[in-house]
């Protein structure tokens, strides 16, 4: 583990040496090599990114990687995954080791600027929460004075935690882990009273617990955590491809286009937005540098945003997360695709 950062830094140097390859847009490089190298959560976050015993990846973040591959190649399977810890992720993207980072990463000002990265959208609106064992008898995060808190290193969570306890004049003991699996082990053993991360992460991690029912998530949400895909700064064409792949999924849900009915709608729909999106009319594909049926391929192979959400996080999954903020804007949520026009 300790070598990984050094390795990543070494690859910054190494890739920097091959300067010409990096100077060109990622988009061309991706088309040339024939697959998308996608950086994903390596410590297993069911619902967002996890791998089964046959090596198949699934999750909301994984669907975004697949959507980009479907848009570019018309084949959602043309993705190679790089599992990353929170600490390694930005270096991996900066160095060019991956083309796209889709790893429940919070969009912040520093990351968007000083780290040399560009966030291109939000695929999950989240907030930081706290989980405690029921036996502790705590009802609110404001009762946590003096608690010891398990947190993952290199996250916004670590900073929000410090701010929250300070703002409320409480003391705490941070126990900082590099991967989620180590953290879960220590938390279940009782090393800490509290486990804090994004609420979705708490629910997701709880599915891995031995006794998930013994733990409860406190009501307080102490931060905004808009999670989304990230590309390198200045990589505009590639950024557009990722951004509109995400929007295509959201727009499709808004217009009722699903993986089931997309063939029929492509053939028969008279709705101009649907016709433009699916490439029957207009030249959106050309403008993005993609095939005309790019959005059709995304919806056909992965489904719209709602389908992806339900499949990975919804009521029929162990996570049972409600749409909430991640519902469409038309239903009171925040998911809103820019117009396909």
């Amino acid at each position: 583990m300790r070598l990984s950062t050094l390795f990543a830094a070494a690859s910054v140097m190494a890739l920097a040496a091959g300067g010409q390859a990096l100077a060109g847009p990622t988009f061309d490089a991706v088309k040339e090599k024939g697959f998308v190298q996608c950086g994903v959560n390596g410590s297993g976050l069911p619902g967002f990114a996890s791998v089964d015993d046959k090596g198949n990846w699934s999750g909301l973040d994984i669907d975004l990687c697949k959507a980009v591959a479907a848009a570019v190649f018309g084949d959602a399977s043309k993705v190679k995954y790089t599992p990353l810890t929170a600490k390694e992720r930005f270096t991996a993207l900066q160095s060019g080791e991956i083309d796209l980072l889709s790893r429940n990463t919070t969009w912040t000002l520093t990351r968007d600027t000083a780290l040399g990265l560009d966030f291109v959208g939000v695929n999950y609106y989240d907030g930081q929460g706290f989980m405690v064992p029921k036996s502790l008898g705590v009802k609110s995060a404001l009762e946590l004075d003096g608690a010891s808190v398990c947190v993952q290193t290199g996250t916004t969570t670590e900073l929000n935690l410090a701010d929250f306890f300070r703002a409320n004049n409480m003391s705490y003991e941070p126990v900082v882990f590099e991967t989620n699996d180590e953290l879960i082990g220590a938390f279940q053993a009782g090393r800490c009273d509290v486990f804090t991360t994004d609420q979705s992460g708490l629910y997701s991690s709880r599915t891995k617990f031995e006794n998930p029912d013994d733990f409860v998530v406190l009501p307080e949400v102490i931060s905004k955590e808009p999670l989304g895909p990230v590309v390198r700064h200045g990589d505009n064409e590639w950024g557009d491809v990722v951004r509109w792949s995400l929007y295509a999924m959201v727009e499709a849900e808004e217009y009722g286009v699903t993986s089931e009915n997309v063939d029929e709608l492509k053939a028969n729909s008279t709705n101009p937005t649907i016709r433009r999106m699916l490439g029957v009319e207009g030249e959106f594909g050309k403008a993005l540098g993609l095939p005309a049926d790019w959005a059709y391929q995304i919806i056909k192979q992965i489904g719209n945003y709602g389908e992806s959400f339900e499949r990975n996080l919804g009521a029929n999954t162990p996570l049972k997360i409600k749409r909430g903020l991640n519902d469409l804007w038309t239903r009171g949520g925040l998911q809103y695709a820019m117009p396909f026009r």
Binding site: Q94, R166, A189
Partner: protein
């Protein structure tokens, strides 16, 4: 010169690229040039690419507010301090675990190394088993076992194991009474210093007397008495200035007192037991390197086995032991960076966090490398000095 002349005449006919001396110089110059050019190319490209990506650069971030907390801080630190200060906290934590680890590893290693040569079958086999098992299991695995299995099995704070007055052990760590220094502490400290000086003087005197008259003096027991009684006297005379703050059981954890974090305990246990196995082998090799004649001569003089070991064999064996021992100390210090796996906030762990929060990988890695290099060179320099001192004893 007459003999050399025809040869130089022949040499002048040989082309200069066939002259081995010139060739060597040219080869070295070319290699040097390539290395410098390669380095310049790498550095230049790194800078250019980072500028193109808009990645922040330079070391200004060291003065910015860090914004995160660290669990074990031996100096004042909280989230409002700077990244530079956070680095320092991490460095001190690394130093702390390395020093404690080295002390324990040395003790364990010496005991086990000597035990392996013991004539007692059981003792020798236990020591062999220890060495063979511990040095052949990867350290990371051992640390994880210590942390998650051994210390992870300790009870919750409310069911703490009480180990005497004000000493508790639970999954949050080992809690000890914390000394509070009141007025008059100076008198007590003066008594301690005085006791140490007295012991040193006594040892010199006893040694001189021994060399002059051959009469041994019970240095150990007298020293112990001085070290205990003199400070005790000072303590009572000063009006018992040191009181203890006892840890108390709070809602979540035991508050007050001194605490030794389980991460720290697991690190010390893992590092010292692992490195101790290597040191045991070095000690054994050192002792076996002493000729049998030395033992026999000592026995002939009527020294006991313990005396022979202490006065004859080990002083000579140290000369063989110290150089490889230095490598083990360096290894232990560098291995402490594995603390990141079990949440011990050592330098590498803190540097990783800073790297991630600032995104300035190149600067952070450069600082990290410089720090570990300095630590290693420092230990190396100290051990070389000690080695030189021991080598002087050679007769």
């Amino acid at each position: 010169m007459a003999a050399a002349e025809p040869r130089s005449g022949r040499q002048s006919r040989t082309a200069f690229w066939n002259d081995p001396r010139v060739r060597a110089i040219i080869a070295q110059a070319v290699v040097l040039l390539l290395v410098v050019a390669g380095a310049a190319y790498l550095i230049n490209n790194t800078i250019a690419n980072r500028e193109r990506l808009g990645v922040a650069s330079g070391f200004d971030f060291l003065w910015q507010v860090a914004g995160f907390d660290i669990s074990q801080t031996l100096i004042d630190y909280d989230r409002t301090y700077s990244y530079g200060r956070a680095f320092l906290v991490g460095l001190i934590n690394t130093f702390y675990v390395a020093v404690v680890g080295i002390v324990f590893a040395t003790i364990i290693g010496f005991i086990m190394g000597v035990a392996r040569l013991s004539s007692n079958w059981l003792v020798a086999k236990v020591a062999s088993a220890y060495v063979e098992i511990m040095r052949n299991i990867p350290l990371l695995l051992q640390l994880i076992v210590w942390y998650f299995v051994v210390l992870g099995g300790l009870p919750a704070p409310r069911e703490s194991i009480a180990l005497g007055e004000g000493v508790y052990l639970n999954i949050r760590g080992l809690f000890l009474p914390k000394p509070v220094f009141g007025e008059g502490t100076a008198i007590f400290l003066a008594a301690v210093v005085l006791a140490v000086i007295a012991v040193l003087v006594l040892r010199r005197w006893a040694r001189r007397r021994f060399e002059a008259t051959g009469q041994p003096f019970p240095v150990f027991w007298t020293s112990l008495a001085i070290l205990v009684l003199l400070p005790l006297l000072g303590y009572v005379l000063a009006g018992m200035p040191i009181t203890f703050e006892y840890p108390k059981l709070g809602k979540f954890r035991i508050s007050g007192g001194l605490v030794m974090l389980p991460e720290f305990m697991a690190m010390v246990a893992g590092l010292s037991i692992y490195t101790g196995a290597f040191i045991a082998e070095i000690v054994r090799a050192g002792i076996l390197a002493i000729q049998k004649g030395q033992w026999e001569a000592a026995y002939a003089l009527g020294l006991s086995r313990g005396q022979t070991l202490r006065l004859i064999v080990i002083p000579q064996a140290l000369r063989v032991i110290i150089p490889p021992q230095t490598s083990q100390y360096l290894n232990l210090t560098k291995n402490s960076s594995l603390g990141v796996a079990i949440a011990y906030p050592d330098f590498f762990n803190v540097a990783g966090t800073i790297n991630n929060q600032t995104g300035q990988a190149v600067e952070v890695i450069a600082i990290t490398m410089a720090v570990y290099l300095s630590l290693s060179l420092g230990i190396s320099a100290f051990m070389n000095w000690y080695n030189a001192r021991m080598a002087l004893v050679e007769r």
